[in-house]
């Protein structure tokens, strides 16, 4: 898996399907957002789309 350098979304793609930014193989942590409307963590992390995210991403 790769993580988006901008929004941290996890994907197999070279570019992020959510925001179009570049992705990286260098990431850590896993945050799975299931209900972005109800999740306080999603609000803190500014995540609005359901899915898997990294916690930290580096180039």
């Amino acid at each position: 898996m790769r993580a988006c350098l901008k929004c941290k979304y996890l994907t197999t793609e070279e570019t992020c399907p959510i925001c179009g930014a570049q992705t990286s193989e260098n990431w850590m942590g896993l945050l799975i957002i299931i209900n972005p409307e109800k999740s306080e963590i999603a609000k803190k992390a500014n995540i609005k789309v359901k899915g898997r995210y990294a916690i930290t991403v580096k180039e």
Binding site: M28, G29, L30, L31, I32, I33, I34, N35, K38, S39, E40, I41, A42, K44, A45, R52, I55, T56
Partner: protein, 92 residues
């Protein structure tokens, strides 16, 4: 409400995925699941109630149990914030 589930060390991400699968399959009121390298032996689960988390982990392998009480969102914030300042200092 955010709860901490004790897991076997090194299995945090696998268990998070296992939980995600069960949430989708059983349509449980779980809002998010967090596995961080900074938090070895635990997976954090944000859910409607403690009962939902108990239901989620029932019979789940490599799970040791549910920690009593809830976790403040402020504590989670520290986990979510990349330690950029420290990294920059280390790089010199």
């Amino acid at each position: 409400m955010i709860f901490a589930v004790r897991t076997m060390v090194g299995q945090e991400k696998n268990i998070a995925e296992l939980m995600y699968g069960r949430v989708e399959k059983e349509n449980l009121d779980v809002y998010s699941i967090l596995a961080s390298e900074a938090l070895k032996g635990y997976v954090l689960v944000e859910a409607e109630s403690e009962g939902v988390v108990k239901e989620l982990i029932k019979g789940m392998p490599r799970v040791k149990g549910l920690v009593k009480g809830t976790i403040n969102i402020e504590e989670i914030e520290q986990l979510l914030t990349p330690k950029k300042i420290i990294e920059n200092i280390e790089k010199g």
